[in-house]
């Protein structure tokens, strides 16, 4: 297996520069050698999951999906597009009502942007396609949770004959963005010697320029080749200028904001996907004057800020869970929920990272917290490697040959190792804003952001399968808790889909970590009973917004 990484055991922590050079060298060499994914031997469907009849014709051999077929036929995909249209219409009506105060004007503008499919290169997916409100603003297509790790197809179909996947598709499970605006800009805390804040699983939406990580995050998918695939930020602004809410944008951010002298070929360029060979790697192929480029940069920043405003609004991050009412003395937890809460801040060690505003009672610790925060975020915004196995179901591993645009999403194929924050620190996405951060690569490779536990339990309907973690390897909260509880008890040196006979994957067998370095050891052997696991799940369900006391 080609590994684009360097084992910490072999590398000195004082020679990060050499490590970066080694990574560079290995990446350069390995890029020409795509490794095909292994056949999936064992693939049990999640308990209770049934393939929707409309999707049955979309199942390919080898437990793969015809993504074009899913986009067209899957009932969740159809439901989400209907929800998008409805919410966009509501937001447009609100924008045109003339009754919004300036504060809510910004939020409503962000809502319009989030539900607008015309902002993608092929005018076919909105931000909300991958962030379904009914699923806690995470993946809302159940069958994708089962077959693709929750990763969503993007705007660009792949039309090369017999290509799999037949649509560009993201490499990770989309992270829910409730409470994302409460994460500070990414920073290295010198006293803690640790990274805090940022958005995205790997923290690459630092938010340093806008001083708003969520706004920075909102700018990424519109130009990500696997997602909305615009070839230039100017294309997003161009499409805003053509939108039904362009006047509203200018009402919020100033008349003339969208008055840009577009070149005659702007429509052609902006319908060409990012990564197309014809663009020659130019990150700004739309030819603009210096002043218009400056205006585009301003508009694109405000585009992100409006989305962040919506994400931070009461529509998305309202602090209305049962637990919030419990903290306010307006709701009572059931016995099981209360026991789960005690486990959450005790034996389960959950609140070591998913901060609940209280102390821990583990190992004799005193709960000195007096509800220090009445709006705990259930995350410390740090990064951890949980030791998740590689999810062999990700279509990303097969996106290793050029599409009709000459773009190859993942030249390494199955050899790609998701190093999480390590990818960001070593320049996978470009230079991080602080080059000295690269020295932290050995300590942060393999780490992913601690998501808030809020709304993790939110499902569109009973029976919906939700994908958890960056690669969607876990498909229920019970599995999540069981993994935390037994990762190191049922640990096997095997790949997913190849657990030994006599074991059951995700029950009595956990395959080896995708990246064994920096594995967080708070979890792995918690000693919880099956009933205690259920109690923790019951508590997590109290963190879903929308509770009515």
């Amino acid at each position: 297996m080609s590994r684009v990484k360097v084992s910490k055991t072999l590398s000195s922590l004082s020679t990060a520069g050499l490590t970066a050079l080694a990574v560079l060298t290995i990446a350069s060499t390995a890029s020409a050698q795509a490794i095909p994914p292994p056949p999936i031997v064992d693939f049990p469907l999640p308990v209770g999951f049934q393939i929707p009849p409309a999707d049955s014709k979309c199942i390919l051999s080898g437990h793969r999906l015809d993504l074009q077929c899913i986009i067209k036929n899957d009932p969740d995909a159809i439901r989400i597009r209907a929800e998008e249209a409805n919410l966009e219409a509501q937001a447009l009506a609100a924008a045109n009502s003339g009754k919004l105060d300036p504060y809510h004007q910004v939020e409503t503008l962000g809502e319009l942007e989030i539900f607008d499919p015309n902002l993608s290169v092929n005018s076919n997916i909105a931000c909300s396609y991958c962030h379904d409100p009914m699923a806690g603003y995470a993946n809302g297509v159940s069958i994708l949770s089962v077959y693709t790790g929750g990763s969503n197809p993007g705007s660009v179909p792949i039309t090369v004959a017999h290509a799999y996947p037949n649509n560009r598709i993201a490499k990770r499970n989309p992270q829910g963005y409730t409470y994302a605006t409460y994460y500070p800009p990414l920073h290295y805390n010198q006293s803690q010697a640790d990274f805090y804040g940022g958005n995205f699983w790997d923290g690459r939406a630092t938010g340093y320029l806008l001083q708003n990580a969520a706004a920075n995050q909102a700018q990424d998918p519109p130009t990500d080749p696997e997602e909305m695939a615009n070839p230039d930020p100017a294309c997003v602004v161009y499409k805003l200028s053509l939108s039904k809410y362009s006047a509203f944008f200018e009402k919020v951010y100033g008349v003339g904001s969208l008055q840009i002298n577009w070149p005659s070929d702007v429509a052609t360029i902006c319908s060409t996907p990012e990564g197309a060979a014809i663009l020659g790697g130019n990150p700004t192929p739309v030819q603009l004057s210096a002043s218009d480029r400056t205006l585009v940069t301003k508009d694109f920043g405000e585009f992100g800020q409006a989305i962040a405003a919506y994400e931070g609004s009461d529509s998305v991050s309202p602090f209305t869970s049962k637990f919030d009412y419990y903290l306010a003395g307006k709701a009572t937890l059931t016995g099981q929920e209360q026991n789960g809460y005690e486990l959450f801040r005790g034996k389960g060690s959950c609140n070591t990272c998913h901060l609940d505003g209280r102390g821990s009672t583990l190992l004799g610790g005193a709960d000195t917290g007096q509800a220090a925060s009445l709006q705990p975020l259930f995350t410390d915004t740090t990064y951890n490697n949980l030791g998740l196995p590689k999810n062999v179901m990700l279509p990303w591993y097969s996106e290793d040959t050029p599409d009709q645009w000459g773009f190859t999403g993942n030249p390494l194929g199955f050899g790609f190792i998701d190093l999480g924050m390590g990818l960001f620190l070593d320049g996978y996405y470009g230079a991080p804003p602080d080059l000295t951060w690269a020295a932290q690569f050995p300590n942060f490779e393999g780490k992913f952001q601690t998501s808030t536990a809020r709304n993790a339990a939110k499902l569109p309907y009973q029976g919906f399968v939700k994908a958890y973690m960056h690669n969607g390897y876990l498909t229920s909260l019970k599995e999540v808790v069981h993994f935390y509880n037994t990762r190191d008890v049922y640990s096997y040196h095997v790949l997913s889909g190849h657990c030994p006979k006599g074991t059951v994957e995700k029950v009595t067998c956990w395959p080896e970590p995708e990246d064994p370095d920096n594995e967080n050891m708070v979890i792995g052997k918690l000693g919880l009973t099956p009933d205690e696991e259920d109690d923790l799940v019951a508590f997590l369900q109290t963190l879903v917004d929308g509770f009515k006391p």
Binding site: S7, K8, T9, L13, S14, T15, A16, G17, L18, A20, L21, L24, A27, S31, S191, Q192, A193, D194, G281, S349, T352, G359, S360, T361, L362, L363, G365, D367, T368, G369, D380, T382, N384, N385, D426, G427, Y428, G430, A431, P432, T436, A438, A439, N443, D488, V489, Y490, S491, Y492, H493, P500, T503, P516, N518, E519, N520, M521, V522, G524, K525
Partner: protein, 148 residues
């Protein structure tokens, strides 16, 4: 990809320059500087498979940074513990005690290993912990589970 490699080269050069300026390691782990008068702990082997093993020990809450590192120096010769395994963990400030756990990878099957453990804060400051040399044996190759 070309752009990414360009960025990586820029990063690598930058970091090397910083390394040369500082001429010192960013982290110095315990075992290289822990206090000889520190508390002695008795680590236990949670489980050992053919190629990996889990070690744990309990101490008083060492305080300091939230992020800590569990460290083992190990090898097949008790007089030459040349290999090092490091696992990050996090302390909960409200806890009076702290369980340190560590995973060793890339072990040889059916082999006796010797080890000592220690821990540091995230910035490399050693915790006042030492241990005597301990040992365990990995399982043969046909027994792959870490489960006892």
């Amino acid at each position: 990809m070309t752009r990414a490699i360009g960025y990586r080269l820029m990063i690598a050069i930058s970091v090397l320059a910083i390394d040369l300026l500082l001429l010192q390691p960013r982290l110095s782990f315990a075992g290289e500087g822990s206090s000889p008068t520190g508390a002695n702990v008795s680590p236990t082997v949670e489980s050992a498979a053919d190629t990996f093993a889990f070690i744990s020990w309990t101490t008083r809450n060492p305080r300091g940074t939230i992020l800590h590192y569990s460290i083992a120096h190990y090898g097949t010769d008790p007089n030459h513990l040349d290999l090092m395994a490091v696992s990050p963990t996090r302390i909960n400030p409200a806890q009076s005690k702290m369980v340190f756990r560590l995973r060793m990878n890339d072990l040889q099957p059916d082999t006796t290993y010797y080890y000592t453990v220690s821990s540091t804060q995230a910035d490399g400051t050693p915790d006042p912990v030492t241990s005597a040399v301990q040992q365990f044996k990995t399982r043969p190759t046909n027994e792959t589970s870490a489960e006892k």
